[in-house]
C-alpha cells in the first residue's frame, strides 16, 4: 500500500503537544479560500518547475510535489525524530491536505506509530463519513478538529462543502469523549464577528468537557505559494486580524468557561 505524502516536516512545534513530526497527506475535500497548503489540495503528485539560482543564472528544475510512500517508509522518516519526541512528550501529527482522504493509508501509518509507542495526533477538517472519521479519530491520542463556521451556506461558499457532516463528527467526538482541540481560524469577513463566534461557542459543551479551543488568526503567509503554483489567491483583500480582535475573540470563549489558546 502506498499513500501520497507531500511533506514530512520535523520539529513542528505548533501542531500538538511537544516537538512533533508533521506528515502532510495529499488531497483535500475542501477548497478553503485561505488554505495555507494549496500544494496539498489535489490527491495526485504534481510536477512543478522551480527556478533556482546557480552560478549567476536561473535554472529551472523539475520538482514533484507529492511522493508515493509505504507506511513503513513514513514510519522510518518519522522515527528519525524519536529522541525529540521523548525529550518533549511529542509525536507524530497527520495533517494535510486531509488525512481522512487516504483513510486506509493513514490507518496503516497510525498502526505503526502505535507499535512504536509514538503519540499520534490527527489534524482534520472533519468532513468525512462518520465511519471513515471514526476509524482514525477513535485511535488518535489527540484530534485537532478544524471548526470554520456553523452556518452551512457560508461554509459552503467559502470552503466548497456544507458544514453539516463536520458538525456531526464534532458532536459525535464530544459525545464519545475523544481528546479534542477545536481549532477555529479567525477570518475577517467570514467568521470574525462576535455574533458568529458566540454561535460557534454554543456548539461546544460549556461544562464537563476536557477539550480546548485554539484560535488561529488568519495570516497571509501562504500568498507566495499561490503565486508559485500559478493559482489565484482569493484572499488578497482580506486583512489580518489585529491583536485586539484576537484577544476579544478569545475572551468570548474564555468567559464561557473554555480553555483557549491563540496562534499555532
Amino acid at each position: 500500500m502506498k499513500g501520497c505524502v507531500f511533506d514530512i516536516r520535523h520539529y513542528s512545534v505548533h501542531d500538538g503537544p511537544g516537538i512533533r513530526t508533521a506528515v502532510f497527506l495529499k488531497g483535500c475535500p475542501l477548497r478553503c479560500r485561505w488554505c495555507h497548503n494549496p500544494e496539498g489540495l489535489e490527491p495526485e503528485p504534481v510536477e512543478v518547475c522551480r527556478e533556482r539560482p546557480a552560478g549567476g543564472k536561473t535554472i529551472r528544475l523539475a520538482e514533484t510535489i507529492g511522493k508515493l510512500m509505504t507506511p513503513a517508509e513514513v514510519a522510518e522518516e518519522v522515527m528519525k525524530s524519536r529522541i525529540f519526541f521523548e525529550e518533549s512528550g511529542g509525536g507524530v501529527t497527520f495533517t494535510g491536505g486531509e488525512p481522512l482522504m487516504q483513510v486506509e493509508f493513514t490507518e496503516a501509518c497510525m498502526h505503526l506509530m502505535e507499535t512504536g509507542n509514538i503519540h499520534t495526533t490527527l489534524d482534520t477538517c472533519g468532513y468525512a463519513l462518520p465511519d471513515v472519521y471514526n476509524r482514525i479519530a477513535a485511535r488518535a491520542n489527540l484530534i485537532l478538529f478544524d471548526l470554520k463556521h456553523y452556518d452551512s451556506g457560508i461554509h459552503q461558499r467559502y470552503t466548497g462543502v456544507p458544514s453539516g457532516p463536520v458538525l456531526a463528527n464534532l458532536r459525535a467526538s464530544i459525545e464519545a469523549g475523544f481528546p479534542l482541540i477545536v481549532r477555529i481560524p479567525l477570518i475577517p469577513g467570514f467568521n470574525l464577528s462576535t455574533d458568529t463566534l458566540i454561535r460557534m461557542a454554543g456548539i461546544l459543551p460549556a461544562t464537563g468537557w476536557s477539550g480546548q479551543v485554539n484560535l488561529l488568526p488568519y495570516h497571509r503567509i501562504a500568498m507566495h505559494k499561490y503565486e508559485k503554483l500559478g493559482l489565484g489567491y482569493g484572499m488578497k483583500d482580506i486583512r489580518q486580524p489585529s491583536a485586539a480582535e484576537v484577544e476579544q475573540a478569545a475572551e468570548i470563549f474564555r468567559e464561557r468557561g473554555f480553555v483557549v489558546t491563540t496562534g499555532g
Partner: protein, 787 residues
C-alpha cells in the same frame, strides 16, 4: 542598571580602539639595558613584567568600582614587540583598514620607527619562527592549508581555576619558595632550569603587588578632593582592597572581583595570550563570597549586581591586541574571547547551579556587551529553569549566551586523561574549547583547511590557484575506478599536510618554551610551581595542543557529490567534474544546479550525506589525535573556525558541492550555508552522527527567526531541542535570532543599525564590524528556506 553603571558602560562603548605605544616603549627600554641579556630568560620575563607594572600609566575612571586598565585608558591597546614587531606599514594598515581598525598616533609611529622596530627586528619570536621553519611549511602556509596561532600572539587559551580565587600573591610566593627549597641539585638534572623558572615566577608575582599598591596610592590621593561622602567611603574601601589583594587572598565579594581583575591584567600584560584570560566558572568561584556576605548582611543582591556590572565593563574596555595579515583574517574581531561559564556540575559531579548563576545571567542580559562572552554549561543534572532563563536572553538576539554540554565536556576531558574531578572543574573557553580550568595548558596551534586538502587531492597535489605542485602526487582522480581509491588518496594528502603542520608546531613550541616563557601565567596554573616548569614548556598538570579543522560541512557535501554523482550514479565522470571546477561552473549551470539542489546535503538527517561527515571527522581524528609534542602535550582535534572559513574559502577554487571559487566555507560543524532544508532537529541529528567526545570542541551555529519565539511554548521546545542534542553528546550550540531581512537592511543602512549584534562563530560581533564577505555569509546562513 543605575546611572553610574550606565555612564561607565556608555564610556566603554564610546571609547575608540587605539594602539598605545606605552608597553612597547617600556619593554624595549627594559631589554636595552646591557645587564639584562646575561640573566636567565624566565628571570628576564619576570623582571620585564615588574618593570612594566612599575612604570605604566594608571587609569582610574570616574565612578569606577573595579580598578585597573591594561593600557593607559580604556581601549588603548598595548603591543607586544617581543612576540611580533609591527612594521610601520602594519601600523598604517591597523590605523586605516575599514574593519577592526586601531588608531595609531604619530608619537607611536615615531617610537616604533626610532626604537621598537630597530631593536626587535630579528629578535622577536615571530622572526625566530620564520627563520627556523622549513620551506615546506611556508609553502603550505602560503597556500592557505593551515594557519599558525603563535606567530603574532602567545600561547594561552587557558582559564583560572579555584586557586586564583583562593590564594594571594604572598601565598603563591610561599609556594614558590617552598618549591625552590625542595630542589634537588644532586639528582635532578633540571634543577637549575627549575630554579630560574621559579625565580621568574616570584618576580612576576611581585609585579602584581606593585601594580595594586600603585592603584591604592592613586585612589588614596583622590580621596581629599572627593566631595560626595558616599563616593569617599567607596574610595576608602577600594584603596583598602587594593592594599589587600592580590597580595592576599580575597575575603569579600568586592575583593574577589578586584583580585581576579588584577590577575587578569597580569596575564594580559605579561604577554598577549590567545583568548586573553578568563575567570571561568564565575558562579562557582564567587559563590562562597556571595553567600557568606549575604548571610552576614554585608552585601545586598543589588550591590552584588552593580559590582558584577562594573566587572563586565572592564572586559569590554579590553579589545584583542592588534592582529595583522593571516592572523587578522582568521580572527577578524575586537573580541578577545574571554568566555564566562555559568552552570554545570561541581567537582563531585552534583548540580552546580546556584542563585549567582541566575544573577550573572541577569547581568549578561542587561549589559548586552560583546565582552566578556558568556555561556551556559548545561548538564543533565541542571534544572530546566537554567536553560529556559538562558533562552530568554538568546531570543533577544545578541548571540549570547551560547550553550554547552557539560556531560560531553567531562567525557572529552576524561578521554584525554583528566581525573573526573579535574574534568568537572573545567568547561569551555575561547569559542568552544574544552579545558580543565586551572590545571591545563591547552593551546590552539592553528586552523586546518580540510577542503583545500580535497582540492589538492582532486588535482593530484597541484594547487590550481598557483599551478604549483604543493602536495604529493596521490594519483590522477580521473583514473580512480572506486570511491575508496579516492578516499585513500585524500587520506594520504591529509596525513602529508598534518605532518607538516605538526612538525612546524613542534618547532614553534620549542621556540616559545625557550625564548618566551610566561612566568606569571605559570604561577597561577597548576602544577607549574610544583614542577618548576613554565606554562609554555609543559609545566601544567595537563598539556594539549589542538589543530582546529575547518569546513566539515563543505567537505561532507563535496565527498557526497563525488560519491553519489561520480561513482554511484555515474552522472558525471571525474574528468568532467574536474573540468566544471576548473571553469568555476561557467557554462555548466545545469550541472551546478544538480550538484546544489539534487544531491544529498549534510544537515538534513540524510545518511547518504552524513556518512561522509563521519568519514571526514574520523580521518582528521586519526591523522592527529594522540601525536606527541616536545613539551609532552598530545595533539587533539577541534572543529571551529572563528572567521577562518572566509579566509580559507578565498584560497580555494570551485568545489564539487557547487560552492563557487573564493566563497566562504561552511563554519564549525554547521551545514553549508542554506543547505539545511529540514529544520533544526535534522541539523542536530546530522551533527550528532560523529563522535564529539573524541574532539576537544565542536561549534554548531543555528538560526531562528525572531518570529519563532512569538509564544511561550517556544522557549520550552527550544530547551528540549538542546537537551536532545546533548543527549546525543553534542558539544555546543549557539543561536542567531535575527531575520535575514533585518541583516539585509543593516548592510544597506549601517548607520541605522550601529547596535546590531550577531553571532559569528563562537563569539558575537557588531554586524557593522564584519567584513562584507562575512556579512554576506551570515545573511545566507540566516535565510529560511521557503516552501
Amino acid at each position: 542598571m543605575n546611572e553610574r553603571i550606565r555612564l561607565l558602560r556608555q564610556n566603554s562603548l564610546d571609547a575608540v580602539n587605539r594602539i598605545s605605544g606605552e608597553r612597547a616603549g617600556l619593554v624595549t627600554g627594559f631589554y636595552r639595558q646591557p645587564s639584562i641579556a646575561a640573566l636567565p630568560v624566565p628571570v628576564q620575563r619576570g623582571m620585564a613584567l615588574k618593570h612594566i607594572m612599575q612604570h605604566k600609566g594608571l587609569y582610574f575612571g570616574q565612578g569606577e568600582l573595579i580598578a585597573g586598565e591594561r593600557g593607559p585608558e580604556p581601549k588603548a591597546v598595548p603591543t607586544y614587540p617581543e612576540v611580533c614587531v609591527h612594521s610601520l606599514q602594519d601600523l598604517e594598515i591597523l590605523d586605516s583598514r575599514p574593519k577592526v581598525s586601531y588608531k595609531v598616533d604619530e608619537e607611536t609611529r615615531a617610537l616604533y620607527r626610532d626604537e621598537v622596530i630597530p631593536f626587535w627586528t630579528g629578535r622577536c619570536v615571530r622572526d625566530h619562527m620564520f627563520k627556523a621553519l622549513p620551506d615546506t611549511w611556508k609553502q603550505a602556509y602560503q597556500a592557505g592549508i593551515f594557519t599558525e596561532f603563535m606567530e603574532q600572539r602567545a600561547p594561552g587559551h587557558t582559564v583560572a581555576g579555584e586557586k586564583v580565587f583562593g590564594k594571594g600573591m604572598n601565598d603563591l610566593m610561599a609556594d614558590i619558595d617552598q618549591a625552590l627549597d625542595k630542589l634537588d641539585y644532586l639528582n635532578d638534572m633540571e634543577a637549575l632550569a627549575k630554579a630560574e623558572e621559579l625565580q621568574g615566577m616570584r618576580l612576576a608575582c611581585e609585579a602584581l603587588v606593585v601594580l595594586a599598591g600603585r592603584y591604592a596610592s592613586l585612589i588614596e590621593a583622590r580621596i581629599p578632593a572627593e566631595k560626595d561622602p558616599g563616593r569617599r567611603d567607596e574610595l576608602l574601601e577600594m584603596a583598602a582592597i587594593c592594599r589587600k589583594v592580590p597580595a592576599n587572598a580575597p575575603e569579600t565579594f568586592h575583593e574577589a572581583l578586584q583580585h581576579y581583575w588584577f590577575i587578569h591584567l597580569g596575564v594580559i600584560t605579561e604577554l598577549n595570550p590567545w583568548d586573553s584570560f578568563n575567570p571561568g566558572r564565575l558562579d562557582q568561584h564567587l559563590w562562597p563570597f556571595y553567600s557568606r556576605e549575604l548571610a552576614a548582611g554585608t552585601l545586598t543582591k543589588e550591590r552584588a549586581t552593580e559590582l558584577l556590572q562594573a566587572f563586565w565593563i572592564k572586559f569590554n574596555n579590553h579589545p584583542a591586541p592588534p592582529k595583522v595579515g593571516v592572523t587578522a583574517q582568521e580572527s577578524n574581531t575586537y573580541t578577545d574571547f574571554c568566555l564566562i561559564n555559568v552552570g554545570g556540575v561541581k567537582a563531585d559531579g552534583s548540580d552546580a547551579v546556584n542563585e549567582l548563576s541566575y544573577l550573572i545571567l541577569d547581568v549578561i542580559e542587561e549589559m548586552r556587551l560583546l565582552q566578556p562572552s558568556s555561556m551556559v554549561q548545561l548538564s543533565k543534572k541542571n534544572p530546566d529553569a537554567l536553560i529556559h532563563r538562558a533562552i530568554r536572553i538568546i531570543k533577544t538576539g545578541f548571540g549570547q549566551p551560547s550553550v554547552f554540554n557539560t556531560d560531553a565536556i567531562v567525557q572529552e576531558l576524561m578521554r584525554q586523561g583528566k581525573t573526573p574531578e579535574d574534568a568537572r572543574r573545567g568547561g569551555a573557553s575561547g569559542c568552544v574549547e574544552a579545558g580543565a580550568f586551572g590545571t591545563e595548558a591547552y593551546i590552539l596551534t592553528g586552523y586546518f583547511n580540510l577542503p583545500k586538502i580535497l582540492e589538492l587531492t582532486l588535482n593530484n597535489g597541484r594547487d590550481p590557484l598557483t599551478g604549483e605542485q604543493t602536495g604529493p602526487q596521490t594519483g590522477d582522480p580521473a583514473l580512480f575506478s572506486t570511491y575508496d581509491e579516492f578516499q585513500i588518496a585524500f587520506r594520504k594528502m591529509l596525513q602529508h599536510f598534518v605532518d607538516i603542520k605538526i612538525a612546524g608546531s613542534n618547532l614553534i613550541e620549542k621556540i616559545w618554551a625557550t625564548h618566551m616563557p610566561a612566568p606569571f601565567l605559570s604561577s597561577i596554573i597548576d602544577d607549574c610551581i610544583l614542577n618548576g616548569r613554565d606554562y609554555n614548556a609543559g609545566g601544567a598538570r595537563y598539556n594539549t595542543s589542538y589543530i582546529q579543522g575547518v569546513g566539515l560541512g563543505t567537505m561532507t557535501d563535496c565527498l557526497t557529490a563525488i560519491h553519489e554523482q561520480v561513482f554511484r550514479h555515474k552522472r558525471y565522470s571525474m574528468a568532467n567534474l574536474l573540468k566544471m571546477l576548473a571553469v568555476n561552473f561557467e557554462g555548466y549551470e545545469d550541472e551546478l544546479a544538480v550538484l546544489l539542489y539534487k544531491t544529498p546535503k549534510y544537515g538534513n538527517d540524510d545518511d547518504l550525506a552524513d556518512v561522509h561527515a563521519k568519514e571526514v571527522f574520523e580521518a582528521y581524528f586519526e591523522a592527529i589525535d594522540g601525536r606527541k609534542s616536545p613539551r609532552g602535550a598530545a595533539y587533539r582535534i577541534e572543529m571551529l573556525p572563528t572567521t577562518c572559513h572566509v579566509y580559507f574559502g578565498s584560497k580555494i577554487n570551485a568545489l564539487p558541492d557547487g560552492r563557487l571559487a573564493g566563497k566562504p566555507l561552511s563554519e564549525g560543524i554547521s551545514p553549508v550555508q542554506g543547505a539545511d532544508r529540514k529544520g533544526p532537529s535534522a541539523v542536530i541529528k546530522s551533527a550528532a552522527k560523529f563522535d564529539h567526545i573524541k574532539s576537544g570542541g565542536t561549534l554548531l551555529n543555528q538560526k531562528f527567526s525572531p518570529d519563532f519565539f512569538r509564544d511561550e511554548t517556544a522557549i520550552v521546545k527550544l530547551g528540549q531541542l538542546i537537551r536532545a542534542y546533548f543527549r546525543m553528546d553534542g558539544h555546543h550550540i549557539q543561536f542567531n535570532v535575527v531575520s535575514a531581512d533585518t541583516l539585509r537592511k543593516a548592510r544597506h543602512h549601517p548607520e541605522a543599525f550601529s547596535n546590531l549584534i550577531v553571532r559569528v562563530a563562537g563569539y558575537s560581533d557588531y554586524f557593522n564590524d564584519l567584513t562584507p564577505e562575512l556579512q554576506e555569509e551570515i545573511i545566507r546562513r540566516t535565510e529560511q528556506e521557503q516552501m
